[in-house]
Amino acid sequence: MTNLIAYIPALPLAGFLLLFFTGRRMSKSMIAFVGAGSVCIAALLTIVIGITFLQSGSSANTQTLWQWMRVGNFSCDISLRLDALSLVFVFIISFVGALIHIYSIAFMRQDEDYARFFASMNLFVFSMLVLVLADNLVLLYLGWEGVGLCSYLLIGFWYKVPANCAAANKAFFITRIGDTAMAIGLFMLFKTLGTLNIADIQQQAATIPNVTTIALLLLMGGMGKSAQVPLQTWLPDAMAGPSPVSALIHAATMVTAGVYLVARMNVLFLLSPAAMNVVAVVGAITLFVAGCSALVQTDIKRILAYSTISQVGYMFLALGCGAWSAAIFHFFTHAFFKALLFLAAGVVIESLHHEHNIFKMGGLKNKMPLLYYTFLAGASALAALPFISAGFYSKDAILWYSWSAGNGNVMLWAVALTGAFITALYSARLVIVVFWGDMKTPIAQQPGKLMTMPLVTLAILSIIAGFVQWPHNLLHVTLFADLVEKVLPATVLKQGIPPELLLQLIAAVVTLGGAYTGYLLYYKSPHIIEQWKTAEPNLNLREFFVKGWRFDELYQTLFVKPFLFITRSNKADVFDKIHQWLVTACSRLNGWLSLSQNGSLRWYIGSMLVGIIFILALQFFL
């Protein structure tokens, strides 16, 4: 089975190539067949390979396809490595990816660039699979840049609207900051160890002197891709892309690449307590900052975008606390429910004539019951309602470990708990405002079977996916942790923590309290909010949150304006003078040398003789 691993990324790649070269001449059904089919087969193959892998009980399967280059002591293999961690990611990418592709068949049907859409999506799936299957960091970086490119292409998919292109550019530029830091980190790793093979790095990690610097640089890369504070500003704008893109790239898979990177490089982080603390603090700040913004947004997709940032923040928090398996578990459940929410949001937007404002929606509960119940399943998982949602199992573990794990403390737990309250509150707000109450916009169309099937599948998974891993004190089921802890270090617990049950109860109460608050504020007695809005400072605070804590304006003042100032004051472009000089020099030299090519034979002979005399002279003077 190991020699089949390469087919998982190869299938979407084949789909991409086929669509890229012949997509224009294909019919829409054919495009859908190729685009979605390639990913579906890859998903089935993943399941088959996954089962074989789990049965075999081996810790990792490596498949070397070929050696790209070998120069001196540097070699770069194209080789794939499947272990428990990459298996989880590959499963999510291909399986959720397949569902989203199926959904897109119907969702994008009317679009004239059908082939381009599927080609880009297939390329994305391929790059993402390369990223998580790579056996060395060079290949990982290739996938990393590939997903960045696809993200750029798909955010700007409707390129005729200038705002979409601006959003695509923004995403590209900001993630580039992280990518650059990561590249520097890779260079430093290579300089110290002389290898970028992941297994070798894990073995030799203890010998790295400047491990904190390298870990932090890698973390920067992860923060860019995973939209963590302070590099989070691109993700809300990235919602300019089609909804399936948001579901696949900006919720389920790409934004968790940073989580994958940190988890994969866990050895480096474990060696540097400082880096671990930074990871945890970044996660905690992010989950709070983004949660507050999600509370006050009115655009349905921006709410989900901020909630994604916040949930990825939870994953970083868990990583930083040393709760490796809990972080990956939250990634696992989050992929299902957040993809579901984005897809459902896509249906809502589509049915309501491209309306994004949730306060112009409402009353969809009776008109679109199936959509309502699937959305409810997703929202309750997001809010982490106890027992009946997958989100509960993963988030409860993070909450517990944020205090009890080796690197956790009570402050982190408090922030995470506040975040849980906020999450429940905005989840409730979302469901109530969009689906309950009176209808404000008439419904244009009902979703077809191709769109509801992925929704139902994901909704079921959003409920049951958590059952593979229960809190220790309730039921002894630890299938997920057993799996990933073959690769990741087990979580170490501290002594002297309040009993787990107590913390769980507090968390459950806070979550339910959040949901109830939402119910109270947006359904039962909406006048409280109206009243709250009358006060000036409150409005300012709201504005502050709506603008995403004014990070954009901060960056505008800190970086963009000075940069523009410099470019404006340097209109003549002093630096260009250097290049200009080079160009003039080359051109002048070209002119002089061309004089020698005058076509006259005696001149040629003369030049040869000069050359000979020169060589002989050189010999005798040396």
Binding site: W66, Q67, W68, M69, R70, V71, G72, C586, S587, L589, N590, L593, S594, S596, Q597, G599, L601, W603, Y604, I605, S607, M608, V610, G611, I612, F614, I615, L616, L618, Q619, F620, L622
Partner: protein, 486 residues
């Protein structure tokens, strides 16, 4: 000569007989098509013969020749180039008035000369090979004698090559005078016993370098290149750019290996100097060139300069890098000149850059192939040219040849300019409508397209899976190094 030695020489005997077969066919008044196909089959036969003899290598045929792994690599590359050039020749010459048949005799004789160079281990065989190659080339360059520049180019090459041969002979004589031997190993042995580098030997090497640099068109012996490339028929230009350079480089490598040329300080200085001025001069000359044949001539001057950087270290890594580079360079130029051949009309070659405006939109396949070839010349990743240049750089950096390496990097950047200039022309909008000519020989046109596609696959394949090629070269070289020690 025992039977194994004869067996080892089999490919070269087949190659020699190819010319004879063609002469007989011409005497029997056969058509161009028959001659072309026979020539193609003969070249295939050479390849088969090489495959057949690979187990008896290495084998020395004292005192003149040695057939070893290195010779096999170089000869294989030469025969491959001639296979492709022969294919391109058909449609090129069939379109023209002149009688194309004798052309094939000359091409095969030139090939034999280059092949003999790769197996030479003695001054006599070197000289015979070189003259065989040169004399064929004089006639080949001037072959289309009614063309404006053809005879002029042929004459220029004749005079200059004769002069360089004179220097070569004089250099050989001086070395013979000093060491009493014309055999590479004999010279090396004599030098070892002498213990120091005597003036006669040094002068002899200097004079021989002149001839080698002339053949490889290195600055300051490069002035003929542009005129000859422009005046010669396109397939012949292709032949000069690939086959003759492979042969001369092969003999240079073998001689340098035998006498440890790179251990002499003066030799390293001279070669570095020539390499640096070639890289600079070639690239600078090409910048504003509007004639694509001249441009490729200047570009090949620069590329041979790069190649010398790989030659400088004189170790196994350098030779491997050089061989890979030569391989990448040859298939790239084959592809580029192949496109020029395809586009050339009845009256004149398609050598003006204007003829390429918007090529991609008229003929996407040709446009794509030329683009890839130019990217490979510029050394852009995922093409063979990148890996070649990378290997050369690596060989240079490991020996800490900083000056040539830095010049290589800087001049590569300058070179990028004129390659991209052509590429942008290929993709430019065009108003001129080119009439679609009905091709006279659909079979051969298809064959030519097939050859171009093979080259495209090789260009990309060697860029993506270079280790296959590198391992192949290494395998053959292992056989080569065994012979050095005996």
């Amino acid at each position: 000569m025992d039977s194994l030695q004869l067996q080892a020489l089999l490919p070269f005997i087949v190659l020699a007989s190819a010319s004879v077969v063609i002469i007989l066919l011409i005497a029997a008044r056969q058509s161009h098509t028959v001659i072309q196909i026979t020539g193609f089959l003969m070249m295939c036969l050479v390849v088969l013969a090489m495959w057949y003899v690979r187990d008896v290598l290495p084998r020395a045929i004292m005192p003149l020749l040695v057939v070893d792994g290195m010779a096999a690599v170089f000869t294989g590359l030469i025969v491959f180039c001639v296979l492709i050039i022969g294919l391109f020749s058909f449609i090129y010459f069939e379109e023209r008035e002149e009688n194309p048949k004798e052309y094939y005799i000359l091409i095969f004789l030139g090939t034999l000369g280059a092949a003999v160079l790769t197996i030479s281990r003695h001054f006599i065989s070197v000289f015979i090979g070189l003259e065989l190659l040169s004399i064929s080339l004089y006639a080949l360059i001037a072959y289309l004698r009614n063309r404006n520049n053809a005879v002029e180019a042929g004459m220029k090459y004749l005079v200059l090559a004769a002069m360089s041969s004179a220097f070569l002979l004089f250099g050989m004589a001086l070395i013979y005078m000093d060491t009493g031997s014309m055999d590479f190993d004999g010279i090396a042995k004599q030098l070892q016993t002498q213990g120091h580098s005597p003036a006669l030997f040094v002068t002899g090497i200097g004079l021989m370098m002149v001839a080698v640099c002339f053949k490889l068109a290195l600055v300051p012996f490069h002035l003929w290149a542009a005129d000859v490339y422009q005046g010669a028929p396109v397939p012949v230009t292709n032949f000069i750019a690939t086959v003759s350079k492979i042969g001369v480089f092969a003999v240079l490598v073998r001689f340098a290996q035998a006498v440890q040329l790179q251990s002499y300080h003066f030799a390293v200085i001279i070669i570095s100097f020539v390499a640096i001025v070639s890289m600079v001069g070639g690239n600078l000359l090409a910048i504003k060139q509007q004639n694509i044949k001249r441009l490729l001539a200047y570009s090949s001057i620069a590329h041979l300069g790069y190649l010398l950087v790989a030659f400088l270290p004189g170790n196994a890594a350098g030779i491997e890098a050089g061989m890979f580079y030569l391989f990448a360079y040859s298939i790239t130029l084959l592809a580029a000149f192949g496109i020029v051949t395809m586009l050339s009309g009845r009256q004149a070659d398609a050598d003006q850059l204007e003829a390429y405006r918007g090529l991609y939109w008229r003929n996407p396949l040709m446009g794509a192939i030329l683009t890839v070839a130019l990217l490979s010349l510029a050394g852009i990743p995922l093409t063979a040219g990148f890996i070649g240049k990378f290997a050369v750089l690596n060989a240079g950096v490991q020996q800490q040849l900083w000056l040539p390496v830095i010049v290589l990097v800087i001049t590569s950047v300058i070179g990028l300019y004129y390659y991209l200039r052509i590429i942008s022309t290929l993709f430019a909008e065009t108003q001129v409508i080119f009439p679609k000519e009905k091709s006279l020989h659909p079979l051969f046109v298809a064959g030519t397209y097939g050859a171009l596609l093979v080259l495209l696959i090789l260009l990309l394949g060697a860029g993506i899976f270079p280790s296959a090629v590198i391992d192949g070269i290494k395998n053959f070289l292992c056989q080569g190094f065994r012979i050095i020690n005996f």
